[in-house]
Symmetry: C2
Subunit: 156 residues, 2 copies
DNA sequence: GTGAGTGCAAAGCCTTTGCAACCAC
DNA sequence: GTGGTTGCAAAGGCTTTGCACTCAC
């Protein structure tokens, strides 16, 4: 069961307060934009543009500072799809998922899996490693691109 | 069975030739440094410093250009541990592995696993996704750091 | 000999920072 | 009222690029 937008908003407003962070207009607006698309991935520039539509007064530096803050408070997660810029996603409870990244069209599909959870537990034992997080990404070709690619499959 | 340094060198020299790339002094030296530590992870700056010891004439721009070239030729792989700079590792045959990253001491441990190979195959079927590569990283605390951390475990 | 490859320095991109003004508490 | 936040612009890292020179083929 996923949390509603209202629940998320309140939860994160409380979290900010709990850490003595002021609930400024800018932080509210930025959070609102992030919550409005709970499953999207975004970078600073993309977020900046969306926030601008809501409140053109917000500066890019504030976006960066807020992203850092939200990461610290675990309101969002930093991803690492691309090394040229940093990207982020909202930290939705129980949304722990993995990514399928299409090398052709760039589409990123999310999936969850219990096999991996089990695997992780085994791994902790074999390597005496206390796992707290994981980043699991599979690269390849999505259904659509696979079939297009199939036309020249004899190539390789 | 892992390839010897000589085998790797020859293989990659041939690969450069096959792509009409000149075998310059700089490329040879850079390749030699990379092969000399086949399991290390490095960024441009680190590679630059090591190459400098061998040949102080090499410029940093050449390092960057060569890293791009070697990635295209699949002589090395680009990693994505950190988003502030790009890191790389030698592409050793059958070395497909995953990473355990310690959040405290930063140590990166490699491991291989057949469960994941199987999992990948299942995944391809359920999602109609043609997987060609994966990046799998687990974050947590290594054995040593876990025990140190244990002292303040009640803290949370 | 000739064009790919190089070194240098300048430019580029994304991100961070210094500082005065501002506003949430 | 006051210190945390902000916007702006300047500075900061890392990486790429323009250009004349060089060297592998």
């Amino acid at each position: 069961m996923e949390e509603s937008r209202e629940e998320l908003r309140e939860k994160f407003h409380r979290r900010l307060a709990a850490h003595d962070c002021k609930l400024t207009r800018q932080r509210k607006d930025i959070l609102e934009v992030i919550i409005s698309e709970p499953h999207s991935h975004f970078n600073a520039e993309e977020l900046y543009e969306k926030v601008q539509q809501m409140n053109p007064e917000v500066g890019l530096a504030t976006i960066y500072r807020t992203l850092d803050l939200f990461c610290d408070l675990e309101i969002i997660h930093r991803l690492d799809f691309d090394t040229s810029y940093k990207s982020y996603e909202l930290n939705v409870e129980d949304q722990h998922h993995h990514h399928l990244i299409c090398l052709q069209c760039g589409t990123i599909t999310e999936f969850k899996d219990s096999v991996l959870e089990k695997f992780e537990q085994d791994l902790e034992k074999t390597h005496n490693f206390d796992i707290v997080d994981h980043h699991i990404k599979f690269y390849g070709y999505c259904e659509e691109c696979s079939s297009n690619k199939g036309e020249s499959k004899n190539g390789k």
